[in-house]
């Protein structure tokens, strides 16, 4: 510790050279960052160097031209028409469309189920409250993959076919698929305007039921976060239960719910990558097949990561827009 005599104190700006670097208040942060940056740089250079060397040796240096080669595999179920003679990129695109399809429907279903169950936690009916709690506690503690396998192998594949199929008004559940609209049995085969394969149906069901439990918690937490005084104030103004909920509680709860929903939506999108468990061909399973056929590991992984990143960003952007809308209502 240096004790300077009175009057000899110099300005802080003039001292840096007399202070050793390892305890210099303004120099040290830059030195630390420089050291960390250098370390990361060296690590990245090392990894990339290995990558380039190993890929060159394997004759797999980064190219994209193989995307135009015919894929040579079929995809069981696509919205975007695809067959084996079409190029790889088309197959990957078809997989992406399949993924988007299940994600969009899943988001709608999970939001509906989650909201209903979340609100059930405030029901005057004790049994309903208990069941909502049971659903959340049960579903959240069992792995999604296990649930998907369960829906596919135990529930949907066990459905009977033909006349024995489960028939509900406007809906028929059979092993050959889910038929919506006005299903009719023609030659022991169901026909309807809208058909869903059991693979798609089990994936969708699994994602909706799983994410619905998390969304239920988000909704419950959001509504519970609205102070009791708001309910009381609305009631003392003579507003009915429904009106209080719609005009007073929900707008305030949404401010808490919407930001939390974002991460649940993203986790549903990411969860859709487990489609392979239900035998549904999504982006990930097309990518896996593509890798097995071409050996183009780096390119395939890059495509995968980029696709999911874009999906996440789109969801986040939409939710941020929604969030702005919801938060603005405060003023």
């Amino acid at each position: 510790m240096t004790r300077l005599p009175q009057g000899l104190a110099t300005t802080p700006l003039a001292t840096p050279l007399t202070t050793p670097w390892w305890r210099h208040r303004r120099l040290l942060p830059w030195l630390v960052q420089g050291a960390v940056g250098l370390l990361v740089l060296v690590l990245v250079a090392f990894l990339l160097g290995n990558l380039v060397r190993n890929l060159t040796n394997a004759g797999l240096l980064l190219t994209w031209s193989w995307l135009h080669n015919p894929a040579g595999f079929e995809i069981a179920e696509t919205t975007l028409p695809f067959n084996a003679s079409m190029p790889y990129w088309r197959g990957l695109l078809a997989g992406l469309v399949n993924t988007l399809q299940v994600v969009v429907l899943g988001l709608i279903g999970a939001t509906a189920l989650g909201t209903a169950t979340g609100m059930a936690a405030f029901s005057s009916n004790g049994l309903l409250r208990g069941l909502a709690r049971l659903y959340v506690d049960l579903i959240r503690n069992i792995p999604l993959l296990l649930q998907l396998l369960f829906w596919y192998f135990v529930v949907f594949l066990a459905l009977p076919n033909g006349a024995a199929a489960v028939q509900l008004p406007g809906l028929v559940l059979a092993k050959s698929g889910l038929y919506l609209g006005q299903p009719q049995l023609v030659n022991d085969v169901w026909q309807a305007p809208l058909r869903m394969s059991v693979e798609f149906a089990s994936l969708l069901t699994g994602l909706v039921v799983y994410t619905g439990a998390f969304i239920a918690e988000v909704v419950r937490g959001g509504v519970a976060a609205v102070p009791q005084g708001q309910w009381e104030a609305a009631r003392s103004l003579g507003l009915g239960q429904a009106l209080t909920l719609r005009r007073i509680v929900v707008p305030q709860a949404l401010r808490v719910i919407v930001p939390a929903l974002n991460s649940q939506y993203i986790s549903l999108a990411k969860g859709s990558s487990l489609a392979v468990a239900c035998g549904y061909t999504d982006l990930y399973s097309v990518a896996e097949t593509t890798l097995n056929q071409t050996g183009r590991a780096v390119e395939v992984v890059l495509i995968l990561l980029a696709s999911y990143l874009v999906i996440d960003l789109v969801i986040s952007a939409l939710m941020n827009g929604l969030n702005r809308l919801v938060q603005l209502r405060e003023r």
């Binding site: 510790m1 004790r3 009175q6 300005t11 001292t15 208040r25 040290l28």
Partner: protein, 257 residues
């Protein structure tokens, strides 16, 4: 030592404890918080800094122990110049105690542990010795029977007294108080001011940012009025409160009266 009431800036004989010259500070957003502030505090002095909110008084106080950085000027505390040497900043922080408006007690530690943490970890003193000193200090501020409770179980006034004892446990040569009674319920203000009075009587060098006029009148050696990042007036309390020299001081006193 000089009796505080009789002291004026010219009659103090003690060594210089804090010397600030031309201190200027800009915040990251370009706000010019301190515009060339000078202040000298001598040993045993109690300097009270007053001023409207946003006048830079808390910022100025916080530069003394390096909680706020500044861009121009010099501050020398107990002979150590605040510069870019981290070791000197740590050395100053060991010698300077600080009491905050929001107490800032560590809620996960008991009262006793709050007091003993720094002396054990920083001064490397043996635990039993620090503990007996801490219990003594708690007795001095009148809360030794709460030593094993957690801060959350105490009243605001008690918490602030613990905070003072926590600083004292490091055996500082200077104590800084940043609006120590502003967050307290009215009935708890006196118990904290009483502890501060005792401390001043024992000769502790203190710099206090506060709005407590009565405390300033009774205890201060000098009162400093700050406004818009500058020192407007420095005067002994009698003179400051009864016959302020500057227009800005009169205006301020008119507002708080």
């Amino acid at each position: 030592m000089t009796s505080p009431a009789a002291a004026t800036s010219t009659t103090i004989a003690g060594a210089v404890m804090i010397e600030a010259q031309g201190v200027e500070k800009w915040y990251g957003n370009g706000y010019h918080a301190l515009r060339g502030v000078d202040l000298t505090v001598h040993q045993g002095e109690v300097v009270v800094i007053m001023g409207p909110s946003g006048s830079g008084k808390s910022t100025f106080l916080r530069t003394f122990n390096g909680l706020e950085e500044f861009q121009h000027g010099t501050i020398t505390v107990d002979g150590i110049t605040l510069g870019d040497d981290l070791r000197q900043i740590d050395a100053i922080r060991r010698e300077v105690g600080m009491v905050f408006q929001q107490f800032n007690l560590f809620p996960h530690l008991t009262v006793l542990e709050n007091l003993t943490l720094a002396p054990i970890k920083v001064r490397q003193r043996p635990q039993h010795q620090v503990e007996s000193q801490a219990l003594e200090l708690l007795e001095r501020v009148g809360i030794h029977e709460q030593a094993h409770k957690y801060p959350g179980q105490l009243s605001g006034g008690q918490q602030q007294r613990v905070a003072i004892a926590r600083s004292l446990c490091m055996e500082p040569r200077i104590m800084l108080f940043d609006e120590p009674t502003s967050a307290l319920d009215p009935e708890m203000v006196q118990e904290v001011l009483e502890v501060m009075r005792e401390l001043a009587k024992e000769g502790m060098t203190m710099v206090v940012v506060t709005h407590e006029v009565k405390f300033a009148r009774q205890v201060a050696s000098r009162v400093v009025l700050m406004a818009e990042g500058r020192v407007v007036e420095v005067a002994p309390p009698d003179q400051f409160f009864s016959n302020p020299q500057h227009e800005r001081s009169k205006q301020f006193l008119g507002q708080i009266a």
